[in-house]
């Protein structure tokens, strides 16, 4: 056997034990369709790397877990100067952004583009995150502001908790605010 040019067995280091203890906390404070995704994509990626992940839904981000609203997040080009026409460098004219129907059209287009990438809609994405072991927490103040209770939220939201409780639960975690 010609072993001279053969390297010793190379096996990926999945660092199963090294990853233990790493925690990620993601605060989702936005309820626009486009701003719902960054937290979900990061949470999903972190879980896939074996990182304990907690999401805290607060203010407008509360809509992401409110069953009557979570299917209906909207995307508007209004106030978003970075918005381009799809696939082009031209900007979407801000003067047109507030016109009736524009938000609906932009939402429809964004949902279509996201679906084409094989990325799930927000409720479905949260299903996947929970299946992967992610933890969902709802903000007490947001619940009170919206006059909502746990009955109004996804069943897999673990609890409505105060900001202090969340800080306590995520002791030692890396934190992302969106």
């Amino acid at each position: 056997m010609t072993t001279t040019e053969t390297a010793p067995a190379i096996v990926p280091s999945f660092d199963d034990d090294v990853g233990t203890g790493r925690k990620l906390a993601i605060i989702c404070s936005k309820g626009n369709l486009d701003m719902a995704y960054p937290g979900l994509v990061l949470a999903n990626a972190a879980l896939g790397e074996g990182v304990e992940t907690h999401l805290f839904f607060t203010f407008w981000g509360f809509d992401m877990i409110t069953t009557s609203r979570m299917h209906d997040l909207q995307f508007s080009p209004a106030g978003n100067a970075a918005m381009h026409l799809p696939g082009r460098d031209a900007h979407f004219p801000q003067a047109l952004a507030p016109l009736p129907g524009v938000t609906g059209m932009a939402t429809h287009m964004l949902k279509k583009q996201i679906a084409e990438l094989g990325v799930p809609e927000v409720p479905d994405f949260l299903d996947q995150i929970v299946a992967a072991g992610g933890h969902l927490w709802a903000c007490r103040m947001s619940a009170d502001l919206n006059k909502l209770t746990e009955a109004d939220l996804r069943d897999d939201v673990e609890a409505i908790i105060s900001a202090s409780d969340f800080i306590e639960k995520t002791d030692g975690a890396q934190l992302i605010f969106i």
């Binding site: 390297a7 999945f14 990325v119 994405f125």
Partner: protein, 104 residues
Amino acid sequence: MPITELDGHRIHVDDEGFLTEYAEWDDDLAAVLARQIGIDLTDEHWKVIRFLRQDFAEKGETATTRRVQTVGGVPVKEQFALFPKKPGKKMAYVAGLPKPHGCV
């Protein structure tokens, strides 16, 4: 690309140890690769591996955990049970494919 030897199989791998030659993989090697990362293959594992191999042959890229659920029919929760902690990478490794590149 280094050539490495695992249990009598001479294989081309990348720097991390993922196979780089689709054709060098076979069922026997899959069991060897799985043992390297502490997994004994069951029928459930094989369902995932067969899907990944076939999907790669058709699409030219490694399926993500999302795709293994929606197209391959194996729920994400089960993938985590079968390939603990890092299912995306571990499934790809055992199936002799590159790491998945998709974000979701």
